[in-house]
Symmetry: C2
Subunit: 329 residues, 2 copies
Amino acid sequence: MKRKVKILGTGSYVPKRIVNAQEIDVIIGKTEGWSEKKSGVKQRYFVEDETASYMGAEAAKSAIEDANISLSDLDCIISASGTNEQAIPCNAALIQKQLGLEGSGIPCFDFNSTCLSFVTALDMMSYAIDQRRFQHVLIVSSEISSVGLNWSQHESSILFGDGACAFILSHSNEASGIIASKMETYSEGAIFSEIRGGGTKIHPKNYSEQSANDFLFDMDGRAIFKLSYKKLPDFLEGLFNQTGLTVQDMQMVIPHQASKSAMNIIRKKLGVKEERFMSIIENYGNVIAASIPLAFHEAIRAGKLKRGDLILFLGTSAGLSIGGIILEY
Amino acid sequence: MKRKVKILGTGSYVPKRIVNAQEIDVIIGKTEGWSEKKSGVKQRYFVEDETASYMGAEAAKSAIEDANISLSDLDCIISASGTNEQAIPCNAALIQKQLGLEGSGIPCFDFNSTCLSFVTALDMMSYAIDQRRFQHVLIVSSEISSVGLNWSQHESSILFGDGACAFILSHSNEASGIIASKMETYSEGAIFSEIRGGGTKIHPKNYSEQSANDFLFDMDGRAIFKLSYKKLPDFLEGLFNQTGLTVQDMQMVIPHQASKSAMNIIRKKLGVKEERFMSIIENYGNVIAASIPLAFHEAIRAGKLKRGDLILFLGTSAGLSIGGIILEY
């Protein structure tokens, strides 16, 4: 049964500093054109002085304006990011503070399923909103990947960017809603994308020249793709079987912006034309959990989506997880 | 309306190593008896070789046995902890792997609201379970505080312990259910309990002798207590007003095991007798988000609770947040 939620507004923030493919080529010591050819990323943004909570709050303010509500209308603030600003407290509380809502009492907490964090938060919160626990929930994904990249691992370091995106997810008795959703986790692929350090297993106090790489992102792109590609057909069948719909009924597929080559293969596998498969990786890189909401936000801004359209959010994440949501916008 | 969920089973795991108050006195250079008098903690457990995912999986296995279901009956695995094993992937995926479910596809993700993570997960997942998205959800809190304590900050370091607790939360048409719940966050208190480092703001690569304390827990207990004590009456009124109940209808109050002195003041404020206010801090210390589920688990093991009893979960966390759930066991 469709969960009665509506994406009332969206907003984004990107850091001031644009980093183009040529700059990346220099960093990694390759000839000009190498990183763009390999990753499909023409440019991405890296933070200068911006913090995750600052970016998240800026994206949130835009989403609030877009939704035509006030800050005081919010009754829940959620951070749904693969990266955190600090170990304690949760990002959502830091975003609340940045929004000047420090005395409001609006509940704040975080979801984490790495690149799928936003999709998971949207999926799970739709039940609480449908049941009228909350009227207007702010879901923010604010990601700083640049600080944790391993520049000696070219395959991963050339892909990522920083940025934030926010949705206002609201209760609605209109046609809008989440029609179906599904998530699967195969931890046989847990080691395919990791930052092994930074938690209780390899605490920052163990940081040294020898352990430095444990605190940086480590990815085996080929293994991730192989496992997720194998699982995808059954996953999609399970997702669409909850509905009377097929992927051809989707006005737009909004995929996780993992890498251009992976996205191309998935698009062909789905049998979806380019104009119905939103790609922003060229201009933003992979912005971790902010990728899917940002691609959706850009599709709206570009006039590619209208109310009533059926949309598929589809992504993978460290875990390894696959997640999807079919919604009516 | 009561959400149709039932705590079908509970389980716990504590590390092999017991650390008594005398050992703590030696670590912090105080005379024997000082730390116990100050904190009320006679002993706590610290990990030796245990990881968070190992402890979480052990607690989960006990809960599954207690619930009389099989591993394969799980349809969602959630980690609800204030600490993480590693930065990527999420704890829940690592717990799935420890459980030997790496090929199962069971969805895995994390909630984080620091010490309230478990309460938040219970609260939010109750909507998805009530709406039949899931039948049996494993919620695990597995905490390793010992690695992040600042032994020069006596006020906080003498309080904490390590350990894990797990619930099987299941759909049920019986009387069991969540009757009411509430959460409030006041980020004016965000700086009262922090680990400033470890995220994107102060990345582990900035670790040095000078920055070392930024990677350890920093707490102003007096400020936390003052703010939460001020907010508590209105919070409780808002929580109980959703019901026809009062705190006197509760068979048992299960508070966050923040500190013995704070718990005593809260108990008196609530007007609840000692036998109806579960305290395990003497034997476990403050086990972060595992505190409330572990106190509940111990209350059941001690025969203090039976099906049909009304119970209040009540806690505070970094953020600063206050959270509460009224449920029928």
